[in-house]
Every structure is written in C-alpha cells, then in structure tokens.
C-alpha cells in the first residue's frame, strides 16, 4: 500500500517527530556513553559494495518500485545500509533480508507526494551521514530517487495544506544579531570545550554542523539553527543534552542547564525590535514558519544530469539526478553561490565536469538519439557575444552540443550527421525578437532525428527553422561538460544559473511548458494571522514567498483565507497593506500600499480564499533568510485604522547664482538663412541658395551660445553668404532693388569710382549694419575695410563680369560677417 495524499503529509510531518526521537536515541548512546560511531562513507558514490537481496520477492509492484528506484541506491553498506540494515538501527529500511519488511520501514519516512519533504530527505539534508561533502546534495539525490519511485504521482499535486503557524506579535521575537560578539563569550566557549571532538571540520570523524570550530563566525553561522532565541529551552543544543543524552561531558541534566544558561545569557543580550505602536499589524512570521509550496510539477522522467545548486558553499555543483556516475562540476575562476539557490559566473568562471563522468551524457544520449538541454538562467547583460552557457565540447571548434549567447540571441550548436564537428550551422533565436533578456529565463534546447533542433524560451517554442536532425553517431565521448564557459576557458558567459537539467529524451512542448510553470527555487506560503483584528476565526492573509536572489525576497499574489470552514463575514475594509520586516516597514517595494478592497464571503471560496492582488513585489533581505521576521501592517483593517499622511516635501533650496553668461549670442542655422534672405531679397526657395543651404546647414551653428562658435561654422556662413550675394548680383531685379544707382554693366575702373562705391556700399551697409545703431560695427571702419577690398580687386580685370564678381565679394564680406551673425 502506498501512503499518498494529504493525509499522509500531515501524518508524516507531525508523527515523525516521535519517530525521529527514537531514531536519534538509537543512534546515540545514553548518558556518559562514548561518541557514536560514524559509518564509513568514504567509498565513492555509486561503488556499491556486495549488494545482495535475500528473502522473498516483492509482494507488489510498488514494493518492486521501491526496490529498483530507492533501495538499490541506499542499501549498499557505503550508504544507509551500513547502519539501517537487517541488524542495524531502526528504521531498518535498508535491510537485505526481506524487501517487503524494508518497504514497511521506509514508508513512514518518505512522502511520495512531495519527495523533497520526506523525513529521510530532511534528515540527511540536516547533516545525518551524507555520503558526499554536501548534505544538501545527498538530500536532493535522495529526493530524486524517491521521486523516481513515486513516478507520476510525485509532485503533481498543487494542493497545499495550510496549517496555522505559531502566533507571535511582530517585534516580540528577536533576530540573531549579525555580530557574533556575545555568542563568542557565552555559547561558543561551551561548544569549543565539549563538542569540538566531533563537530568541527578537522575532527577525525567530522560531524556536521560544525558549530564547534574555532572560527567564531563560522561557528556562529552553524549554531544559529540549533538555538531557539524565542524559546531557549527548546534549542537543539539543550534538548540533545537534556532530553536525548547526546554525548554529555558530565551529567546530562547539569550539562543541559549549563548550555541553557549560556544561551539565555546570549539571548538576553539581543534587543527586541520596536514596532511603531500606532501600526495595525498582523501576527509575525519567519521563513521557518513558512509552509513549503509544492515544488513539483517538473517533468524529470528522463533526466540524466541535474544541477539545482543548493549547496551554497564549496566549489562543486553536484549532479543530483541520481543517475550514476554523478557528473559533478568543479568550479574554477570566479564562480560564487547565490541566495535562493544558484551560482553566478564571473571573471574567468567555469563549472566543469570530468571527461570520465561527462561520458555518461554521451552514452545515455547516443543510446536514445535525442536529448533536451534545460536551464533556468539569467544573463548578466545583452552585450556578450559567442558566450557559452552550457557546453559539452572539446574546445572552441569541436563539440557535441552547446547553448550559447550572442547579444539578444540564444544560439544552439548541436553536432549530428547533418552538421559539422562544431555543430554548425547553428540555430539562433531571431535578431529582431530580442528573445534573450538579462533576466531569469527558462531555456530548453531539444534535438531529435525528426525535428532537428528546437529552442523554447519561457515555455514558448521559438520560430527557428531547422531541418531533420540526423544521427548522433559522430559524437565524441572524450569531451567534457561545462557551464559558463567553453572547456577551453575562452568563451566566458557572465550570468546566473538557477537550474540545469539534461534529459535523454525530447521534452514535448507540453512538458517544456510544465517545467516552465513549475518554476525554480524553493517557495513558501506565509500565513499572516489577522484574527485579532477582525471577527473571523483563524483568519490569515497568505502570501507565496521565495528568496528571489541573493538580495531580495519575492512576495506575491496575497489572498485572504480562514482555516475554519464554513465561515461568514461581510464588508471588512482592507486598505493600505504593507509588508514589515524586523519591526519596520521598508520604504521600497510596498506594492500593496494602494490596496483598497473589501473582504466579503460573497467573494470567498473555501479552497482558495479571496484574492487580494495578482501582483508580486520584491523586498530587500536584511539580516538574512534565517533571521528576518515579517509581518503586515494596514492603514485600515476592519475597525482598526492607522491612516498615513505623507509629509509635504520641503521646497528645494534656491540654486546658487551661476556665472554671468554672455548677453549676446549668434544666430542659428535657419536664422542665418532667413537673415541673408531678408537682407538680399533672395528667397530661401531659390534653387541655388537652397542647394547650398542644405549642403552647409548642419555645419552652421545650432545654438546661440557665442562661446561655442567654431571656425568651421564661419566657413559655412561664408559659403552661404557668397551664394546669396551671387544670386543677388546675377538677378537684375533684385540687384536693382538693392543697388539702384550702381552700374553692374560697367567695367571695374568706372563702376567703382567714388559715386559707384557710394551706390554699392551705402545701401549694403544700410541693410546689413542698419542705420543709427550704436550696437553695430562702426560704419566708417567697415567702409574703410570694404574700400580696401574693392581697390585691391578692381586693380585687375577689365570686364563687367569682373565688376559683378567684385560686388559679390564685397557683398559676401559684409553679409557673412558678425554684423549679420550676432544677435
């Protein structure tokens, strides 16, 4: 019989506390006994030793499923079988004398509906004899094996059983201080003195957590989860001694009291966070109070390598697919862990597996002839080119497959009988679509002989044409698998990995969408109690919460619910809801401060409550995910109110006086053109003028700032002036209007006699310099200059054409000068 469903979950989580005690008691000795013997798990994973199953055959297919998927992986004596075998400690789920008895023993400690929530998983994840360096990796692998056993029933339920959390007022609980100073003088000395034989990383048989190391910061980080600052007597450090008689150094009761006194002294030094007494607040929660949301829904049936990056320390990303051999990836260069599970690839970063373990990709994929490469990633930018995100290759020019980035595009190179050894021609997402964004995205690249290569981003198939896929006969089994770079190290990709999975089957579009919808990372439900504010029993506002990245939480889609059913309520006003952290309201990210809604049972359903908002928001992590305390505040909830009125901002200070600026400026391009047209009478639409103007337009001044005037601009002005003057002189009507007394048909000698010069220069200066204007250049000086120019030019040439040319030059000399240009 298989224990599934919600009934099992509640039983499993509540009832196993007692079972845990018995397990722990069995593992440890009584008062004064010696330290428990640790199993030898040094043998490499997967090298199962003499696994022989005796006894009767499996009675049911489910027992057989347990045997194949879980028992055969845990029963070897380099894993659980060393202690939990036929004659070992209870529960004897790894016994080899009767698989049916082992099945009975394992059922209470597995949750086939939510494998990751199985007691077996949390026990090992909490530091119980993991066979790897990472407890989390062992836990994930166990969860995978249990999932495989559960088959389709695992994780498909999205139903979440909401349970009432412990009710606390915000601020009444304390938070661990970031400074370990008081811890160093209270609890740490006891740990150093009495626990360092085992609970250090340098012990002969190291026992995690390593809270007894001499590095107080590391010890503090490890001990925090074993100290209940709101309830010191219930701290594991105390309970293990007083209640479970775990390696006491003298008398267990007195040792427990000594430890309790130290913890109480430490806790007493932590100030409570003050909450504004005017706030209307919900009850408070920490992340530990959150109910784990179903992380299921993923399709991992044919996963052969899986990276969830939960370890958060060390330099290895463990393959938690449970498929041997584990293709663990070693970090080199700048690779760092990020909060909320993941790794960040920085300078020269790379996470690469051995060629020997990478070979399993070759073996398992070539056996099916198809595969899917799946990743949750966030590119650091959209400027990187030829960057390798996921690569199974031998260098820059030879590979089995690679997912890469070029600007806004994902590239997929997949070697087959229809490509060259580099997987070319590659397929890429279309340039114009800018599919790749520098944010978290779900990317799946698939290959199969029929459809060739396909790319999915965020669940949607990208329209990229590809031919038939061919075969994988040419794949090379000497290549290595790497993330964030080419194996040769010269194609760095900067960005985040939150999950990578390799499947040796093609994910169907529905399965891709399912994995996209399943999301990535751990999610919780927070139930903020508000029954003390409204007359509704067991009333809560529920948020889905996750650690968004290293710096923020994501709160999303709140709804109101009562755990009592049926329930009636009408017309409860809820307005201006804010999320509080550690006793105060963060200023940034309050997406629900505009909320204005009425709680009413007409809008309520027993299963899903009453939705408050479909919006999500991110709030900054303050003390850390294990320390921050959350609560809600309301401007109004029912009859309680605390209306916020924002202060009127102070007026901006008066700007200091700037430096004095020129009182004059220069004309701009169109003004110059208009001025020349106005002065000469030549219309701006004159084709010669228009042509020149369009040629020099962008060379002319665009601002009036005289301090920015350039010689190149003057050259443009000059060209235009010459064109205008030329058009003026060549047009008998226009020149007659402006210079009625000047003889344009005379030769220079006669044309530029005294009368002729008056006939030319006086009207010219009148229109350009103006009359009786003290702000314009001195007319006499200007005339002297122009006379000199005319004399010089008129000394040669004997034709009327020469005369007109001299007029053009004289005109341009005035028109193109500052008298026109300055305003």
């Amino acid at each position: 019989m298989r224990f599934t469903g919600l009934l099992f979950k509640s039983v499993a989580r509540v009832g196993l506390t007692g079972l845990l005690v018995s397990i722990l008691s069995a593992c440890s000795g009584g008062a004064g006994q010696e330290t428990e013997e640790n199993p030898d798990l040094a043998a490499p994973a997967g090298s199962s030793q003499s696994l022989v199953l005796n006894g009767p055959a499996a009675l049911t297919t489910d027992v057989q499923g347990f045997r194949v998927n879980l028992w055969e992986n845990i029963a070897p004596d380099n894993r659980c079988g060393q202690c939990h075998g036929s004659s070992g400690q209870s529960p004897s789920f790894a016994r080899n004398d009767d698989i049916n008895l082992a099945y009975e023993q394992v059922n209470p400690i597995v949750d086939l509906n939510q494998p990751s929530q199985s007691r077996m998983v949390s026990k090992v994840g909490g530091g119980h004899n993991c066979w790897l360096d990472s407890d989390q990796a062992c836990a994930d692998i166990l969860a995978t094996w249990i999932s495989n056993w559960a088959g389709d029933s695992a994780g498909t339920s999205n139903a979440v059983e909401l349970r009432a959390p412990t009710l606390r007022d915000p601020g009444a609980s304390k938070s661990f201080p970031s400074d370990p100073g008081v811890f160093a003088s209270t609890v740490h000395p006891l740990l150093l003195a009495y626990c360092s034989n085992c609970h250090t990383d340098t012990a002969a048989n190291p026992q995690s957590p390593f809270f007894a190391v001499s590095d107080v910061i590391a010890a503090y980080a490890a001990a925090r989860s074993k100290i209940e600052i709101d309830d010191p007597p219930n701290s594991r450090l105390v309970v293990r001694l007083g209640g479970e008689f775990h390696n006491c150094w003298t008398d267990c009761n007195s040792n427990a009291s000594e430890m309790l006194a130290a913890i109480e002294t430490f806790v007493a030094s932590i100030p409570e966070t003050a909450v504004d007494p005017d706030f209307v607040t919900s009850r408070s929660l920490t992340l530990l109070d959150g109910i784990v949301a179903s992380g299921g829904g993923r399709v991992d049936t044919n996963v052969i390598a899986l990276y969830q990056f939960k370890t958060l320390s060390g330099s290895i990303a463990y393959d938690t697919s449970g498929v041997e051999p584990s293709l663990d990836l070693s970090f080199s260069g700048d690779v760092s862990w990020i909060g909320g599970w993941g790794i960040n690839i920085g300078d020269n970063g790379k996470a690469q597996g051995l060629t020997s373990t990478s070979k399993k990709l070759h073996d398992l994929i070539t056996s099916t002839g198809e595969y899917s490469l799946e990743a949750w990633i966030a590119s650091a930018n959209v400027t990187q080119e030829e960057a390798r995100i996921v690569s199974y290759s031998g260098g820059n020019m030879t590979r089995n497959f690679t997912l890469g980035q070029t600007l806004y595009n994902y590239d997929f190179l997949a070697r087959s009988s229809t490509t060259d050894g580099n997987g070319d021609p590659a397929i890429s997402t279309p340039d114009a679509d800018e599919v790749l964004q520098a944010t978290l995205q779900h990317v799946v690249a698939t290959f199969d002989p029929t459809n060739g290569r396909q790319l999915y981003v965020n669940g949607s198939l990208i329209d990229v044409r590809d031919g038939a896929g061919g075969t994988l006969n040419d794949w090379d089994d000497t290549f290595a698998f790497a993330l964030g770079n080419e194996v040769s190290g010269d194609r760095l990709w900067r960005g985040l990995f939150k999950l990578v999975a390799i499947h040796n089957r093609v994910l169907t579009p529905g399965q891709v969408l399912q994995n996209f919808d399943a999301g990535v990372g751990e999610r919780f439900f927070f139930l903020f109690g508000i029954s003390h504010l409204i007359n509704v029993p067991e009333a809560y506002i529920v948020f889905e919460v996750s650690q968004f990245d290293s710096y923020s939480y994501l709160f999303s889609q709140p709804y109101f619910i009562s755990l009592t059913s049926p329930v009636t309520f009408q017309g409860i006003a809820l307005r201006g809801m804010r999320i509080g952290i550690n006793g105060r309201e963060p200023e940034v990210g309050q997406a629900y401060s505009k909320l204005d809604i009425t709680l009413d049972d007409s809008l309520y359903s027993a299963g899903t409550g009453q939705p408050l908002s479909a919006i999500g928001t991110i709030l900054g992590i303050e003390k850390g995910a294990d320390s921050d305390e959350f609560f809600l505040t309301f401007e109004q909830l029912g009859t309680h109110s605390n209306v916020r009125v924002e202060a009127v901002p102070d007026p901006l200070p008066t700007s200091p006086d700037g430096d004095a600026l020129p009182d004059i400026g220069i004309k701009k391009f169109d003004e110059i053109n208009a001025s020349m047209s106005s002065i000469t009478g030549v219309p701006t639409s004159n084709l010669d003028v228009l042509g020149t103007f369009l040629t020099v337009r962008q060379q002319l001044p665009v601002t009036a700032n005289i301090e920015g005037f350039l010689s190149s601009q003057q050259m443009g002005v000059t060209q235009l002036a010459i064109e205008y003057c030329s058009s003026l002189v060549e047009d008998p009507v226009l020149r007659g209007n402006l210079f009625p007394a000047f003889d344009f048909n005379a030769v220079p000698v006669s044309a530029f006699d005294t009368a002729g010069r008056d006939a030319l220069l006086i009207p010219l200066m009148d229109v350009v310099l103006g009359v009786n204007l003290g702000s314009q250049p001195d007319r006499n000086q200007t005339r002297t200059e122009l006379e000199s120019l005319i004399t010089n030019f008129a000394s040669s040439g004997t034709t009327a054409e020469r005369t007109r040319t001299i007029v053009k030059a004289t005109c341009a000399a005035v028109l193109g000068g500052a008298a026109m240009l300055i305003q």
Partner: protein, 424 residues
C-alpha cells in the same frame, strides 16, 4: 553651385582673400560688438535686438523706426513699451517660420534633432502661438494645423510630405496654416485626441515600437523640462510596474530596488493612459516609419494578443516578471502626487487619475512645472542663455504668473523675455 564656381574661376587667389576677409572681419566685428554691448543701448538698439531675438532676422528700417518709437515714447512703462515692440516683431513671418519652428522641432523626435523637417507637431505649436490658443491644449486638444489652401501635397496620416513641402517652399506659415480638428483627419475619436501627443509626428517619434513609455518620458522632458532622473522616487508603490520590467537585471535585484523602481513606479501608471495607441509601420521595409501611421483601438476593438483594447506592446516580455502588472485598460494614476514629486505642483482641482491620453495630458499641462517649463524655454530662446541669478529667477516666476493668468498664451512670455533681455 554655378555662381560660386564662377567666382572661383574668375578670382582664384582673390576668392581666398574674400574668405579670409570675412573671417578676419568677423572677428574684428565681434570684438567691436562686445565693446558696444557694454555701452547703454538706446531705443533703436533695443528694438533691433528685440526683433532679432523674436524673429531671428533684423527688422526692416521702417519696422525698426516703429519699434524704436514705441519703446521711446509709448504710453506704458518702459517694460510695457518694450513688450509692445516685441509684439510688433512677432508679426514678422520668420517668428513663425524660423523661430517657432526651430523652437519646437527638437520636441518632435527622440534625438532632439533641430534639423528635423516641419511636421504636424511643430506646425501645431506654431499655429497655436499665432492664434493665442491656450498652450495647455498642446497636451489635450483636438487640434492640428495644416495648410489646405496652398499647392502642396495634402495632409496625410501616413506621410509627412505636406509639411516638408511647406517648409521647402519657404512659405509664410503665419499666413497659410489653418486650424483643424485632429479627429476629422486622423480617425482618432475626439475624446482620444491629446494635442501633439496624438499628432502623426508625435506618434512616429514616441509611439513607434517599444512600450509607449517614450511618449511619457519625452513629454515630461519637453513640456515639464524634467527627465526621469529628476523625478525618480523609489518610495512609490510598484504595483503598476508592468511585467516586462525585470526585477533582477542581470540577476541583481538591488538594481531594481534602487534604480528601476524609482522611475517605473510613477511612470508606468501614467503611461497606461496610452494603452490603446500604437504607431504601425513596416519595420523591414520602412524601419524609420516614414509611411507609418497612428492607430488607436476604439471601443469594441480587441487586440488578438491581449484580448482587450490594450495594444500588444503593453504585454511585451511578460515573462520577465510574471507577477508584474498586466495592463487591461487605459486607466492612469498619478502616484507622484504624493512624495517628493508633489513639488511638480499638480493642480489640486484635478483628481490625479483618469482614463486615456487626454485627461493624462491635462494632468501634466495643468501642473506648475508645465507653465514654468514653457516660460523657461522661451526665456532661453529669447535671452540666448539660462536664467542664472536671483533677478532671472524672479523674472521667471513673474512670467509664469502672467502666463498662467493670461490664458496661457505663449506670445506673452516671448514679449516679456524680449523686454527683459532687450539690453540698455
């Protein structure tokens, strides 16, 4: 340039002499002018400057005499007489064809290119000034100016040839421009028109591609004289920030919480007013949108992608943050009525929320910042510099008052600025 060529052929080295003469002469004359401006300017000099600043060209002799006489012997105060002279200068065609065209052209494109062609946006500004239309209508009115009675291609919703030809012919825009209703030309219903926001040129510049946020940003920039950096306020509620804004750029959510949220929290709920607008064009064959046109989803229209009247671009990149805001209508809200951006001076007689571009344009156009921005732009245009000291700031304040109290006619600050900077 045949004429220029003939000069070159005829004069050779002498041509270079002319050019050098102009260059040297210019420098000498500038020096002379710099000396001159330190001396007290008389009425003629003041009239000359006012005309140059207003119309961009020197006055004809007769007009100079008229203005100078008015300044010297007018019936008002010295300031009022100078303003009256400025109003005379505003009768010159180049006040419209040159000054106002160049004044408004940078507002009509993203590059703030002063060389852009005349278009229905800039022509509407010119016409509104000429007709003393309440300038707030620039963001609200069912208004556009065109020239239906001259021999140029007719107004088109899908090209700009009408205005380009008007400019090329150098026509007197003050004479040829005629006011019309946008709604009668573009098919956008009257209640969905919003002044220059819904002109073709405005749409081509700021509704093209993207997410329509550009229209808000550039309207803010051009008509409230503020870029987003100045109005950034990270304390506003982020509940209306759309899904396309990643909350963790490059994997670092601090960037969002400290930067992105500052603009988007206020901008996105305002930009929702444009949710039914798009500029449709052929990005492959006409990437600049020269033949594109403004499209508005009328009541009853359903966008296939969004399932509502909201245009597709509002649901662009919806998986960047799936629990971001999903736009379902064109309701807008001004979150900047609280917090530090109260300083913008919102009109307390308005509600700070509404539906569609017209009412959102009214929200912007009735702010104190709008009036101050228009006046300050005019001051820069006429005085050829920024206001720098207490006297300048005081003048700006008084011009804002008179602009607001006299029906928001833009000629008024032109006249007052010209009088203030007349010299003397």
């Amino acid at each position: 340039m045949p004429n220029l060529g003939s000069i070159k052929l005829a004069m050779g080295n002498e041509m270079r002499e002319v050019v050098m003469y102009i260059l040297v002469g210019s420098i000498a004359i500038v020096a002379a002018l710099l000396f001159c401006v330190t001396a007290d300017a008389g009425s003629r000099e003041q009239a000359q400057r006012i005309h140059n600043r207003i119309a961009g060209v020197s006055p004809l002799a007769v007009r100079l005499d008229e203005m100078a006489a008015l300044i010297q012997t007018g019936s008002g105060t010295e300031e009022e007489n100078a303003q009256a002279a400025a109003f005379i200068a505003m009768q010159h065609p180049d006040f419209y064809r040159t000054t106002l065209k160049n004044f408004s052209t940078p507002w009509t494109n993203r590059d703030q290119d002063v060389f852009a062609a005349l278009n229905d946006y800039s022509a509407t500004v010119i016409g509104m000034v000429r007709d003393d239309v309440d300038f707030r209508e620039i963001l609200t009115g069912d208004i556009v100016y065109l020239a239906p009675n001259v021999a140029v291609p007719g107004y088109s919703t899908s090209d700009n040839r009408h205005y380009e030809e008007l400019e090329q012919q150098g026509l007197d825009l003050a004479s040829v421009l005629v006011r019309s209703d946008q709604s009668s030309l573009t098919g956008v219903p009257p209640e969905a028109t919003a002044g220059v926001i819904t002109t073709r040129a405005g749409a081509r510049a700021f509704f093209i591609a993207g997410t329509n946020r550009a229209m808000f940003r550039f309207t803010l920039l051009n008509h409230l004289c503020m870029d987003l950096e100045e109005v950034k306020d990270i304390t506003r509620a982020p509940d209306r920030i759309r899904q396309d804004v990643t909350r963790s750029p490059g994997g670092d959510s601090r960037l969002f919480r400290n930067n992105c949220i500052g603009c988007h929290s206020g901008m996105d709920p305002m930009t929702q007013a444009f949710a039914y607008y798009n500029f449709e064009y052929d990005p492959d064959n006409d990437p600049e949108g020269n033949s594109g046109q403004l499209v508005y989803n009328r009541s009853g229209t359903v966008d296939v992608f969004t399932g509502t009247r909201v245009v597709k671009k509002y649901h662009h990149n919806q998986n960047n943050f799936p629990t971001g805001y999903v736009t379902v209508n064109d309701n807008w809200d001004n979150y900047w009525r609280e917090g530090r951006n109260q300083r913008i001076g919102w009109d307390s007689t308005l509600t700070g929320s509404g539906t569609g571009a017209k009412s959102m344009g009214r929200e912007l156009a009735n702010s104190q910042a709008f009036a101050a921005c228009q006046v300050t732009k005019v001051f820069r245009e006429v005085c050829l510099r920024d206001p720098v000291d207490a006297a300048d700031r005081s003048k700006i304040d008084s011009m804002v008052s008179s602009f607001s109290n006299s029906g928001f006619k833009l000629k008024q600050p032109f006249a007052e600025s010209a009088a203030y900077c007349r010299g003397g």
